[in-house]
């Protein structure tokens, strides 16, 4: 990437030229959380001056910048990628128009448990604090004194289980119980996978990724599409739910696009990514498509 172009992308993430890889990750998650959050003062102060369409435009600018930057030094953001794959990506990067090289990124989107997903916990922290050297721990202690970070993880993980009784009553409105005071540094989706990560990985390996990549990169990901994919694998919502640690009800709501039941966009985004990861399709594309539908229809 040319230096000037890189500088422009860094500017989108409000970073200086000497920004490190970690800085890029931090800034990216900071701004994704900022612009998708419903309770950061800097955004709510705009009131309805900032439309949903505009939010999405800004979010996609940020996404584009991030992807372009992360692909830049040839280091795949997913550690498992082989050297050969990386080189191919670099070549592709250079041949593609600078602003469009996020497509190259899409094809390398292969599920991995190291994927940083923290940025999508967008409603967790009202002041969208980011991990800042030496300060995050202190904040976590002072902010969540009677509601420690550990409790937050538990409440998030346990939530689907609490839902499990009343199986088919879809009329019950589900409220996600993510406390606003949680520490954003917590990587709870990672925790989810670590429970039965091996199982998940082996499931994913069974899926013929390449077939899906072609289809899913042209098709808009809808609830219906997800449902079709799930059914074609002969998996019941309940099975999927227990694998992903998501209530089967949520799975059904997602598939039927019952947006009014899906109150928390931050959790939803995470759930969609988990679902996509399970299916072996691009988590980014899936979350982007689905959240766009969610925002527009809600």
């Amino acid at each position: 990437m040319r230096k000037k172009v890189k500088k422009e992308y860094l500017k989108v993430l409000e970073l200086g030229e000497n920004a490190s890889r970690d800085d890029i990750e931090n800034a990216y998650s900071y701004f994704v959380r900022l612009y998708s959050s419903e309770d950061s003062p800097e955004i709510t102060a705009l009131k309805d001056d900032l439309s949903i369409t505009e939010r999405n435009r800004i979010l996609s600018d940020i996404d584009k910048a991030y992807k372009a930057l992360v692909g830049d030094d040839g280091v795949n953001r997913f550690e498992f990628s082989s050297k050969i794959e990386q080189q191919e990506i670099v070549l592709e990067d250079e041949s593609v128009n600078e602003t469009e090289n996020n497509e190259a990124e899409d094809t390398e989107e292969i599920p991995d448990e190291n994927e940083p997903v923290i940025e999508f916990i967008d409603t967790v922290d009202p002041i969208h604090d980011i991990p800042v050297e030496g300060s995050s721990n202190v904040d976590a202690k002072t902010e969540t004194s009677d509601n420690g970070a550990g409790d937050e993880i538990d409440s998030i993980l346990e939530f689907p289980l609490e839902e499990s009784p009343d199986v088919d009553n879809e009329k019950d409105e589900i409220k996600f119980e993510i406390s606003k005071s949680a520490d954003p540094v917590v990587e709870f989706p990672g925790e989810v996978y670590s429970d039965d990560g091996d199982h998940l990985e082996s499931e994913i390996e069974k899926i013929e990724i390449h077939d899906n990549i072609n289809e899913e990169s042209v098709v808009e990901i809808t609830g219906k599409y997800l449902k079709k994919q799930r059914e074609s694998r002969g998996i019941k919502p309940r099975e999927l739910g227990s694998q992903l640690n998501i209530s089967h009800k949520i799975i059904t709501y997602i598939e039927n696009e019952k947006f009014e039941k899906l109150e928390d966009p931050g959790y939803l985004r995470w759930a969609i990514k988990a679902y996509a990861k399970f299916l072996g399709i691009s988590t980014e594309k899936c979350a982007e498509d689905y959240m766009r539908r969610y925002r527009n229809k809600k």
Binding site: N26, A27, E42, A45, L46, S51, I58, I127, D129
Partner: protein, 306 residues
């Protein structure tokens, strides 16, 4: 040395505009610059008390009513090389200042003999406040992390953009636009959906679109956060900078922040004085850092805010 005018505004009352103006001005004077500070707060002028001047003379009154040249209304302060143009106008009705008079006032400000002129704007977004702000070489917006303060900041920003674009369109002879789109602007700028407003203006024609873009490009604001009680709130500067760029289409620089500081409270209550406050290490460091950023056009990036 090139003369510079800095305007300190931001919309919300009580955010610290006067304290910050006084600190900027006093520090620059201590560093050997010839400085004039103007109390543009037409309602609640208090710079004189911050700068150890016993109230009495009103420069603006003398200028507007007695037609005395602005340069002859300067009042000495406790800091050598720092003169005050007082806005204390108990006997004076600011609303009676006509547009022509204001233009004359702005012209006189530009002609003042000084290295640095700092205008402390009062709260609110009255037209004379907006116009004084736009007159400056460096436009400084002060806000606290409170949501009402940020709301006011956005309204203020909308108004300066609308006013700037209107001025430029007027200047280029597109006056008829006033009636269609700019109706009641900037008075009604709170209710304008900003993106719609821009779209409409650009839709008027190629030439207008160009002027609108030029107007936006010509605006760069400097953000200063005040009364920061915890470091995490300093990040609001980064957020605001991003929102001003992505949503309002203007360049913003995050110049730095002041922590919440008891000795500033003492200054305002009269239990301390400006020179004592300037010795406070944290305050002087912040002042130096921020003013250096504003003069040089550099600012704090996300990766530097650690």
């Amino acid at each position: 040395m090139k003369k510079e005018i800095w305007a300190i505004g931001g919309g919300k009352g009580g955010t610290g505009k006067s304290v910050i103006s006084a600190l900027f001005a006093a520090t620059a004077a201590k560093n050997g610059k010839k400085v004039i500070i103007i109390d543009g707060d037409l309602g609640g002028a208090n710079l004189h008390s911050l700068l150890g001047v016993s109230s009495g003379k009103s420069s603006l009154n003398e200028f507007f009513e007695k037609k005395i040249p602005l340069s002859e209304t300067l009042i000495e302060t406790v800091i050598p090389d720092l003169a005050l143009i007082s806005g204390d106008m108990m006997s004076y009705n600011p609303l009676s200042v006509k547009y022509i008079q204001r233009l004359k006032f702005y012209r006189h400000i530009k002609e003042l003999d000084a290295d640095l002129i700092i205008i402390d704007l009062g709260a609110g977004t009255a037209l004379n406040t907006i116009d004084s702000f736009l007159l400056a070489d460096k436009m400084v917006l002060v806000t606290t992390p409170e949501i009402t303060s940020i709301e006011n900041l956005y309204i203020f920003v909308k108004k300066i953009i609308v006013r700037k674009i209107k001025d430029m369109l007027d200047y280029e002879g597109f006056k008829e636009i006033d009636k269609s789109i700019l109706l009641d602007i900037p008075k009604g700028a709170e209710s304008i959906k900003f993106t719609e407003f821009l779209e409409k203006l650009k839709g008027l024609g190629k030439e207008q679109e160009k002027i609108v873009s030029q107007g936006l490009e010509s605006l760069t604001v400097n953000l200063v956060l005040n009364q920061i009680r915890e470091k995490k709130y300093a990040q609001y500067g980064i957020s605001l900078k991003s929102v001003l760029k992505r949503h309002f289409n203007i360049d913003a620089l995050f110049s730095g922040y002041f922590e919440y500081n008891e000795s500033i409270l003492k200054l305002v209550s009269g239990d301390s004085d400006i020179e004592t406050v300037m010795i406070d290490k944290k305050i002087s460091e912040s002042v130096n850092f921020i003013t250096k950023n504003i003069s040089s056009g550099s600012d704090v990036n996300f990766n530097e805010l650690k």
